[in-house]
């Protein structure tokens, strides 16, 4: 059998389980007495083991197996869980993650897992000896059944009403004929409408299997009963038909659909133009119809790409925990708005910026416990990561209740570097961000040592701007700092202004365009030795696109200015002509080195012409 076709599914599904293992390890570490996390971890590790074994990934399945052996002793309460166990399990989970990735790419043989395996075995042995139980290293791969009682799987008729309540009825009936040892998923899951009606439990009873099955079926609405059968949940999930209404789609497919719909939108715009030039009623009607269908299709595909932020957020609790330990800080981490959705492409981009901001918050924001107590603060610092939908944008905030940014020190440094004039007496939030975001500034050791902030803020700001978003900061000494990432919900299609200089065409996303006006030579002035434009009572920098892209030739007499704005910064961009507006699909773009930092991507216009997309951030 060719297994390679299942590799991708194995990877995706294993990653989901790994994420759940990390989550539940954190939960378990917080409340070591709780029994649900360890049961959940055990199940997830067990599932990975089963899948890896099916794929013949022996290193992965062996590692999962040894983890499972340790977890089993901890799960059944025969061994007391200690901090050392948590550290070991976290480490083993990391190794398992590497093993999963390596297996899929055929590099399993290159992994060195001996040390982790030895540590797992040692821990299992110690506990096993303490519990006077035989080592279970010879346990067969699939069986989890142990202890008194028989494992039973029940599938409630999926079309019946309240499948969870029906499951509860079954358990109630089982309690009348024997002792129910363990139920998976835990009975609390029955209350959820997501519960699919399949559950397993271990029953200790005098009755024979036929009598048990009769008693279960008497509860009503039972589709299937398997007495004494233990199969991994995922096996059944994949074979049972019609249970899940979801399909897994390769992201590349969705991307290519998005590209195609983008081209369709462009073609529609062309059609609209062609149709407007002729006077044919039926063509108009058809154009209108195609136009509407295209918009609907576009909206649908955008919806398909929407992904909840937890897919990125879920790895942060672990990151925060590890960082806090490493830096001897006490941190309570809260995540809010996990269900908020963003375009997959945007979500993929914000992971690294968020890691950066969280790292800064813990490293430089949150004070050590003793210092916090001396300041009258609770010793445990608080870091909150939240997502909030605001109209067509999503705001993601990283806030801490740490020491805040020391503006005076930043200001001193900015003055010395000539970034701000002596007339600036205090740094507003906006100015502070500009100073911090200035490439190279923040990495200066003396600043990051004193104020702590700024390492890599420039990278974060650049990333966000490329996504059509922005970054804001607010900070108060002794109270804390909040960074806010403003993000568009969808990335791919934007309305843009098409402009020309000489024979060249460019587009400028309309999001950042404030207005367009005719260049009035009397309004041209000077600003810090460069060209400036009198605009609404202030002077804003004036940029000539001709000069920027080095276009020669005859300069027209009348030229328009496009005023672009990002945050509080504005500038006027002089072009030769404005040729219209249209929806464009921005395609990312790997600029050759030496390219001006004023482009954010490329696109194809309605007439088939490829053009570069101007980046407002590079122009202000």
């Amino acid at each position: 059998m060719d297994l390679s076709q299942y590799a991708e599914l194995f990877l995706v599904e294993s990653r989901e389980h790994l994420s759940s293992i990390n989550q539940q390890l954190l939960e378990w570490e917080r409340s070591p007495q709780a029994t649900e996390p360890v049961a959940g971890i055990f199940r997830a590790v067990h599932t990975i083991k089963g899948m890896a074994a099916a794929m013949s990934y022996s290193v992965t399945s062996d590692l999962a197996h040894r983890m499972e052996s340790l977890l089993d002793i901890l799960r059944t309460g025969d061994g007391e869980v200690t901090q050392d166990h948590f550290e070991l399990l976290f480490r083993a989970t990391d190794t398992l993650e590497q093993a999963v990735a390596a297996s899929v790419s055929g590099r399993e043989g290159q992994l060195d897992v001996a040390e982790v395996l030895a540590a797992l075995d040692a821990a299992t042995r110690d506990l096993g000896a303490a519990a006077r139980r035989p080592s279970r290293s010879s346990m067969p791969l699939v069986a989890v059944s142990e202890g008194p009682g028989i494992w039973i799987r029940v599938q409630i008729e999926p079309n019946s009403t309240l499948v969870g309540a029906r499951a509860a009825v079954v358990i109630g009936r089982m309690e009348a004929i024997g002792a129910v040892r363990e139920v998976r998923p835990p009975p609390s899951a029955f209350e959820s409408d997501e519960f699919d009606g399949q559950f397993d439990f271990q029953l200790e009873t005098e009755l024979d299997p036929e009598a048990i099955e009769r008693e279960i079926r008497a509860a009503g609405d039972i589709k299937q009963v398997l007495v004494g059968a233990e199969r991994s949940r995922t096996d059944v999930k994949q074979t049972a038909s019609g249970r899940s209404r979801h399909v897994r789609v390769d992201l590349q497919r969705v991307d290519s659909m998005m590209d195609l719909i983008g081209e369709l939108v462009t073609a529609r715009d062309q059609l609209t133009q062609v149709s407007a030039a002729r006077t044919a009623g039926d063509l108009d009607d058809l154009t209108l119809k195609i136009s509407r269908l295209t918009s609907d299709l576009q909206a649908e595909i955008i919806q398909v790409r929407m992904t909840p932020v937890w897919q990125v957020f879920d790895r942060f609790p672990r990151l925060v925990r590890d960082l806090a330990r490493q830096l001897d800080k006490q941190v309570e981490f809260r995540v809010e708005g996990k269900e908020i959705e963003l375009d997959r492409a945007i979500l993929d981009e914000i992971g690294d910026p968020l890691v950066h901001l969280l790292r800064n918050a813990i490293d430089h924001g949150i004070e050590p416990p003793a210092e916090r107590e001396a300041l009258g603060k609770p010793p445990t610092g608080r870091v909150v990561l939240s997502a909030l939908r605001e109209k067509a944008k999503v705001a993601i905030k990283v806030s801490d209740d740490g020491r805040g940014i020391e503006r005076e020190k930043i200001l001193d440094r900015a003055r010395r570097d000539g970034m701000v004039g002596d007339e600036v007496e205090t740094l507003s939030d906006e100015l502070l961000l500009r100073v911090l975001a200035r490439s190279g500034f923040s990495t200066a050791a003396e600043v990051s040592d004193v104020s702590g902030r700024g390492v890599g803020i420039d990278i974060v700001a650049t990333r966000l701007r490329a996504l059509g978003g922005g970054l804001e900061v607010s900070s108060e000494i002794g109270v804390g700092t909040t960074f806010t990432l403003q993000l568009p919900i969808t990335l791919a299609i934007v309305r843009a202004l098409t402009v020309e200089v000489g024979d060249e065409r460019y587009v400028l996303p309309i999001t950042h365009v404030t207005e367009t006006l005719d260049l009035d030579s009397s309004a041209v002035t000077e600003l810090d030795g460069r060209a400036g434009l009198m605009y609404r009572g202030t002077v804003i920098p004036l940029v000539d696109l001709r000069e920027l892209v080095n276009v020669s030739g005859i300069v027209p007499d009348r030229r328009p200015v496009v005023v672009v704005q990002i945050g509080g910064r504005r500038s006027g961009v002089v072009v030769d002509t404005l040729t219209g507006q249209q929806e464009i699909v921005v395609k990312s773009f790997d600029p050759p080195s030496g390219t001006l930092p004023i482009f954010s991507g490329a696109t194809i216009l309605g007439d088939g012409m490829p053009v570069l997309v101007l980046d407002a951030g590079g122009l202000v």
């Binding site: 009825v169 109630g172 008497a218």
Partner: protein
């Protein structure tokens, strides 16, 4: 001898309907209750073979009434009557000791099946 039933629901309409379904099938309705408190009192007084219990009732809800009744008689046979979307409450009621449930709108055949399961 036919089984005796106590019907608990705050709506007369529902009590009438359940009463009709059950009495036409040969069960004997021995009492009705409009509130959870009444349900517990009447159970103690009548010792019916079966109780049908609405989940949402004034003064004491159906789930608390189940707990009280089970405390008084662990063998009590209680059938919960619920609306769609009350899964969590029904699960709670069953964990509290109710034996089965039916979901509104009631189909007589489903109600009778459930009653037979509980009494069986």
């Amino acid at each position: 001898m036919s089984h005796t039933v106590l019907v608990c629901d705050d709506a007369i309409f529902m009590r009438t309907m359940i009463g009709d379904i059950l009495s036409q099938a040969g069960y004997e309705i021995v009492g009705e209750a409009e509130t959870g408190v009444q349900a517990v009192e009447k159970f103690k007084q009548l010792s019916p073979d079966l109780v049908t219990m609405d989940i949402v009732m004034p003064d004491m809800g159906g789930i608390d009434a189940v707990r009280e009744i089970i405390k008084h008689d662990p063998g009590a046979r209680i059938l919960m009557c619920s609306a769609m979307g009350q899964q969590a409450l029904v699960v709670e009621a069953i964990q509290a000791g109710a034996k089965d449930f039916v979901v509104k709108p009631f189909q007589p055949s489903r109600v009778l099946e459930a009653v037979q399961r509980v009494l069986g």
